[in-house]
């Protein structure tokens, strides 16, 4: 080991963020990385556990103990080699992952976890800087053709893995640019879109064929896809947002978060929508309904757009500040989390349920909110009860619904291909990612329901391996 006592002698020290006053002025990434030397020191805190719970908790099974050691030794190249072996896109997860690994880090039992996510990000960024990340086209082509439909993290990972295995892969994207939710769902202050472009360029140099602006089922028929390709993988994500169908929902000024975030991302990308379609929080009282990460992204976006106030509503009670006994280490703890967007100024209300929207002249003006209390029934299931007399109104000029997603969009492609759906509305797959139609596979949120970027990458990789086996007939 580089330093068996590193965890005792080095204190955790993480990336910082740009000052709030400064960063809310723009949409550039807010995280400031540690110096490489400091980063190596941080890596030396890794204890190289014999049972690495971080690795176990990581959906892509990054082998942290190995690359942390190499990082601590200063061998960035080797660390990169190890990292990229399990994760196609550390530059995405390094920015966006909630880091299940850190919650499972053995150091976190008695102290502070290793800065695993940040170390990962540091490795991949240095790898790009040093030119370690180079196109490595496959030595041989198998002659098999695969269509991957949808270029979110699952589709990218699937396409990349299959391409490396030597298959000819066409990645279809209905939008004008690759990335799916990464590009249109994640604000630039968390993920600068050039990061995606940088990767896609490499994939293309490796021989991946990317077709953007092509909606399969519309621009190219499902039949053609099926007949042209030896296998197809559906990675269209779970883009159907959950709605809040209560009184007043039809009022202007109530928008789904995806819509809101996508628009802002387009603006940053210089692809601004026409004037009246534009959703802006400028000088408005903004209410974000939904306490998740997407909600948080909406807050940061609204603040940057110049909102007068931002309030976030969450129907569940505020989570505990520390790990509850019911979720002991190494499980992922649901604890109270303050994101960078929260720091930028917003009010958060927990146990708050929206009863109805009221408006003026067709536009939203007010939410009627009621306090709710939670307990559990005899089976341990959560039960909600409104608190009598606790209603209050909340002023709002703009309401963003960030309530999560239901499932993938059924219309069009999914319907055309004739694949069966699960009870939850996801594309149904077997243990090898194959749908009810032979040769058609599905992966990522489309098959599993909405989840983390890192899970999507894992899914894409796993599906690619299954497709590869299918194509090899093994």
């Amino acid at each position: 080991m580089a330093n068996p006592r590193g965890f005792m002698t080095v204190k955790r020290s993480g990336n910082t963020c740009r000052r709030v006053e400064e960063r809310v002025q723009d949409f550039r990434e807010i995280e400031i990385q540690l110096s490489d030397d400091a980063r190596q020191l941080q890596a030396s805190r890794c204890m190289e556990c014999s049972v690495p719970f971080c690795h176990w908790a990581c959906p892509v099974a990054n082998i942290m103990p190995e690359w942390q050691q190499r990082l601590a030794e200063g061998d960035w190249r080797a660390a990169y080699d190890l990292l990229q072996d399990t994760n196609n896109f550390p530059e995405f997860t390094g920015r966006l992952c909630p880091a299940l690994c850190e919650a499972s880090c053995v150091l976190s039992i008695n102290g502070e976890a290793v800065t695993i996510r940040e170390n990962e990000l540091a490795i991949i960024e240095r790898a790009f800087r040093e030119g370690y990340v180079k196109p490595r086209p496959p030595a041989q082509r198998t002659g098999k053709k695969v269509a991957v439909i949808g270029s979110g993290p699952a589709g990218l990972a699937c396409a990349d893995t299959l391409n490396r295995a030597g298959h000819t892969v066409v990645l279809y994207e209905a939008a004008g640019a690759v990335g799916g939710f990464l590009r249109f769902g994640v604000p630039d202050f968390k993920l600068d879109k050039s990061i995606i472009d940088r990767r896609v360029a490499i994939l293309q140099e490796e021989g991946l064929i990317v077709k953007t602006g092509v909606r399969v089922g519309t621009d190219i028929s499902s039949e053609e896809i099926r007949s042209t390709f030896d296998a197809v993988c559906i990675t269209t994500g779970a883009r159907k947002p959950r709605d809040l169908l209560i009184e007043g929902r039809e009022l202007d000024g109530i928008h789904q978060a995806v819509e809101y975030l996508e628009q802002q991302n387009r603006i940053v990308a210089g692809d601004a929508p026409a004037g009246e379609d534009r959703i802006s929080a400028a000088r408005k009282h903004v209410v974000v309904i939904g306490g998740g990460d997407t909600g948080s992204d909406c807050i940061g976006t609204a603040i940057r757009q110049g909102a007068r106030s931002v309030t976030q509503l969450e129907i569940l009670p505020a989570p505990p500040r520390t790990r509850p006994d019911t979720l002991p280490w190494p499980l992922w703890p649901k604890v109270y989390k303050t994101t960078s967007s929260h720091e930028e100024g917003c009010e958060r209300l927990f146990g708050a349920s929206t009863r109805r929207f009221t408006g003026e002249s067709g536009g939203i003006r007010r939410l009627c909110v009621v306090r709710v209390d939670w307990d559990t029934d005899e089976n341990g299931r959560y039960r909600m009860a409104e608190r009598p007399g606790s209603e209050f109104d909340l002023e709002a000029d703009l309401v963003i619904l960030a309530l999560g997603f239901e499932h993938t969009v059924h219309e069009g492609l999914v319907h055309d291909l004739g694949v069966q759906l699960s009870a939850r509305g996801d594309v149904a797959v077997d243990g090898r990612h194959m749908t009810s139609v032979a040769g058609i596979f599905a992966a990522g949120d489309a098959a599993q329901g909405a989840s983390l970027v890192v899970r999507a990458i894992f899914e894409g990789r796993a599906a690619a391996r299954d497709i590869d086996a299918y194509l090899r007939g093994t």
Binding site: V51, P52, F53, L107, I109, N110, P330
Partner: protein, 1524 residues
Amino acid sequence: MSETAIEEHRPETAHFPEPQGLYDPAHEHGSCGIGFVANIRGERTHEIVQRGLEVLERMAHRGAESADNCTGDGAGLLMQIPHEFYKQDVPALPKPGQYGTGLVFLPRKDSEGAYCAEEFEDVVDEEGLRVLAWRAVAVDDSAIGEIARASEPAMRQVFIVGKAPLSRDALERKLYVVRKVIEDRIRRSALQQARLFYLPSLSTRTVVYKGMLTSMQLRRYFADLQDKRVTSAIALVHSRFSTNTFPSWDLAQPFRIIAHNGEINTIKGNRFWMHASESSFASPLFGDDIKKLLPIIEPGKSDSASFDNALELLVAAGRSLPHAIMMLIPESFNQLNPIPDDLKYFYEYHSAFMEPWDGPASMVFCDGRFVGGTLDRNGLRPSRYVVTKDGLVVMASEVGVQTFPPEQIEYKGRLMPGKLLLVDTEERRIIPDREIKERVSQRRPYREWVEKNRIRMADIPLKNPAPVGVPNGQLHELELMFGYNREDIERILIPMATSGREPVSSMGTDTPLAVFSDRPQRLFNYFKQVFAQVTNPAIDPLREELVMTLTGYIGTEGNLLAETPENCAMIQFKRPIFTNSDVEKIKDLEHEDFKTATLQMTFPLSEGPAGLERALSRLCEDAESKVHEGYSFLILSDRGADAENVPIPSLLACSSVHHHLVRVQKRTKIALIIKTAEAREVMHFALLFGYGASVVNPYGALAVVHDLLKKGRLPGVANAIEAEENYIEAVHKGLLKILSKLGISTLRSYHGAQAFEAIGLSKEVVDRYFTGTDSRIGGIGLEQIAQEALMQHRKAFGDRPALLESEGVYQYRKYGERHAWNPETISLLQWAVRSNDPKKYREFAGLVNRQNQAPHVIRGLLDFRPQTPVPIEEVEPVEAIFKRLTTGAMSFGSISKEAHETIAAAMNTIGGRSNTGEGGEDPERFAPRPDGTSARSAIKQVASGRFGVTSNYLVNADEIQIKIAQGAKPGEGGQLPGHKVDHVIARTRYATPGVSLISPPPHHDIYSIEDLAQLIFDLKNVNWDACISVKLVSETGVGTIAAGVAKAHADKIVICGYDGGTGASPQSSIKHAGLPFELGIAETHQTLVLNGLRGRVRLQTDGQLKTGRDVVLAGILGAEEFGFGTAALIALGCVMMRKCHLNTCPMGVATQDPELRKHFAGKPEHLIRYFTFLAEEVREIMAQLGIRRFDDLVGRTDLLVQRKVDHWKARTVDLSSLLYRPERSRSSAIRCIEPQNHAINSVLDRALIDRAGPALKYRDQVSTNLPITNADRAVGAMLSGRVSRLYGESGLPDDTIQCTFHGSAGQSFGAFLAKGITFRLLGDANDYFGKGLSGGRLIAMPPEGSTFKAEENIIVGNTVLYGATSGEAFIRGVAGERFCVRNSGAHAVIEGTGDHCAEYMTGGRIIVLGKVGRNFAAGMSGGIAYVLNVDGNFTYFCNCAMVELSPVLDQDDQEFIKAWLRKHVAYTGSPVAGAVLARWHEYLPKFIRVLPLEYKRVLHERKLAEIDRQLAAIREEAQLGASY
């Protein structure tokens, strides 16, 4: 056991049972008491015979009895032919020397007996001889035990003469031929009782009387022996203590020439090599008769018998008896041994073609003229002798077996390691070792022969240096093809290539057995190392380097029976791991005798799995034809493996060719050089050598190391040569460690010795390719082996991953090898015990049980047979289950104080038992704590380091556990580095803070089973209330060892699985030594039941037990109690970091770091909850099985059934031998039902305690006088136990109890002697004098009237003051080997010592006023020795690795010596000490101070601290003064 039981199961001829279940008679071990009495002048008297018998009888405690308490393991006597006596019965006898005679054991069945006699006469006739007469041998079978009687042969004696006159030697040779021919003929006959036929001896010179008797029975059984007309000048005797519970008449000793106390560890190899060389035998003395002698080694006999066979051949073919002995048991002759050069050349000459028969041995031998004894190079068996002024010599395992008046004694001596004692009754004198060896070594110009013919590897010029790496770009492919993974690189090759050492790890292995793994396994992984326990000590290859060697020879061996210069025309290598250039050297040799052929170890991919068998057959045939073509070196290489050619597992190729060539008797003609990329870790090399490789060239591993260097992955390594050297050095060190674990000293005898067992390989594969290897549960065949090879090959040429895999064998990997302890199991168990949630426990247990069934462990393949359940309320309560639970032996030192005390408190609360581990226990813990709980460990361990083992420690135990071996590292010692020895640890271990503590690999008082019996006896004397348990590790044959342990009167035997945890151990030991507990416990249970010993002993097992189901399964296999180590730690917070050895456990469990210890979050209730959940689970299963009391399921294998599984490898496993129930379990006990008889009721201490009454009650001074004999053992132990119980650690005031003894004291005189007791011994003493001395004072001196010089004669035996913690010893005379081994506090004065004096000493001081043996101060980390350097050559004898030698300049040292010499004079009247004191200034310069460097530093620091303290005081005073 009842009489009826024996009647019912008395087979027609009781003998060894056939192999059944897991029992196999091939694993029997023996050890013994031996000795001889001889009249040096050759005068034959009946008195000699009587004395011989008496010698035996006085060592009765060294033999053993079987379950009937009456049948002995065997006793016998060899003497000169009593011609006058026989003449009376056979008047026709010609003169002595013109006839041969011997007893004949015949089948009892009349027809068969007659048939044998007729056949015998035919053979005699065919060989030109004539049976002169048959004589009835009068025997009294009322004297013997039931078991012995059941297998008693008919006993007759034969007299044979030549048809024509023959010289004595010619007749002797013919008799030898006759015996070999008739033995072979009867063996091949279809007789039912063929095995009863046996010839104890057939000679013109000597006759052997022996049988399955106790020492006491021999005299009565053979009426001849009592006849006064029976005379001899020599009586050589033997009594046997066998782990062997089914001794048989023919295995009693002496054999034809020898009697042996010891064990030949390399016996498999020795037998193979003897067989392999038979085809080259030629001897002018025998001519064509030589073929009739084959096979030389009688099949189905003991190791000692095989040795006798080999020795007999060498002697018959013309070598003298001493010469032959020196060939088979050579002393160590490396540069650390002070022997003449000629002798070194003699040994070197013979070592080129004869490997040592290696193992602990005290051997006595006699050919009618010469009688003598020798010890093996390690000298681990005691052998003492006395020579009287009237020409008698008595040699025996003990002193005191004959009593002589003091003035009669000429001198007293002991056999020394590797030395001979030889009496020539014709020359009428004792020929000193030096003289006889000089004579033998100068018989031929060995030096010239060697210098001329032997070629040293180092001297061969290198013409074509071979590249180390492989061509660019091919390395990755090579790595993939041979299955290298990232762990191989990171955890094996990098540490080896940087440090030159094998990597160390901690905790136990928890991956599936190879046969259960889903991943392709290297064939190496289907083997486990076997190791020494109890019957046989392991060696310390570091501190006793002088006996170890890896030197070997390659070339063509000649005729073993001839002495020609060409016999040593071989290439000598010092290092068996060859570099690529070494191989080139051999290939390029321009020498007509040395030609090299190369064969490919690959099979064609195109042929698929079936291609493997064909390729192996081809390989064997080709190898054989290469021998015919005259090649002397055969390289088996996998260098040619590529996309079309799949590598054959190198071990399979090597062993196949080796065994094929042994079978066709060509093996000794050619050397096998294995050139493989596959071998990388130490275990791989050990296997290759064990299965016949002469040398190994690991070109693949070397290429990887080279590549690592280029990539900068070898920090601190300067260049390629250094990297290669480091790696090879690490392999060599690892090999020495593996050899030494089995008590083997030389690679030459390890070579082909197959010191392994297979697990998960089919009988067909083993019988054909690994002939003679044990494989107990069946397993995969050649097809699956081929499949695994193909899977690996596909990785390289199909998948071609860019990075090597992270295999996950050493560390958990999500998609790697499975681990029983993984994130799910660890966190579920912790969740369950912290939240006290039975549901979570059930989740945990369910997960574990499912994992086990994957399958993962053997018990995972076992299901319960459905039974009629009983209501759970009727099942005994959890409290009854708790009593069966113990926690593992984890020392305070390996785990933190907090963890250790938490475990103890938890176990005491529930009525289970915790274990101190090796490392003592703070006496503060003996008393209950203020809150009523107790942190006293109920089990006190006694391990090889004896840390903190005092009389007081022992009396505070409910159970005393002798740790023979540890699952994670059987056969190895340990070391607690000085920096970890803080004040608290030092206090509990009776050590010095900052001074390293080394645990030797063996207990230095257990070299044999009778030694273990002695230690059990010692401990039982100290604390008769405590249960004495013996901890063994599962391996094949552990059942027979356990039977021996049961006969040694252990109350309990613990069988540990190989997967138990450790605080630090070489990685290869953790993974590759020992077997899972299921096999060990089942074999032990079956073997004990088979021989009726099961009822006397409780069985415990451990090894990754986790759930109630595990406990019930283990119980059904035979265990009554259960140990939990890893699981207990995990319940208390361990997360399997495997960082114990680094002291960085972040959970505060296995660390001494004060900061980290704060993190310890375990509470007694966690453990209590775990065991409560587990006990409830046990009860639930019991209810399902219809069992109310746990006792009722022990051994009930009928409750189990093997589950059918679909796994491609696991389905080949067959557990029927595991589930076997011996027939005898219907009538005999199948669990412990009665206590052992410890025979401590009539020990001498009872009298001592009586006489010491006033001292014990009122602390009044008492003194007493008593006679003592060698049968009085452990004198003082019981008295000391009493003192400690009454007065605790502080004991009594000095000299409160004073005892004087007259005579020869038995073993363990003054053991654990407590403070306040003074023992004076006028006479001499055996081994283990002052063992564990706990504050008492011991004085030994020759009795009045002795005329010999005390300072030149031995007075106390081996291993004196072993593990002494405090006290004093004054010994006027010389001690044996290992004086003051592991002494940590006693002060002693002695007048001369044997080898290894002050070994592993950590404290105390000794003064040696005379000569010392080799290896003084090896492993000495503390204490001081002052040696009077009489001959001025002390430096040569001192092992200076850890110590500094200096003159005694310091005034304190000088004062100490003077003061203690004055005491020595006062107590013993020593003239030596008197002279030194009288001329102090003359002697002072001759004293050398031996001071361990570590200790010096500590002393220095102490001095500095003292100066600081004084300075501070001065300053304080000055300040005070100033303020006035």
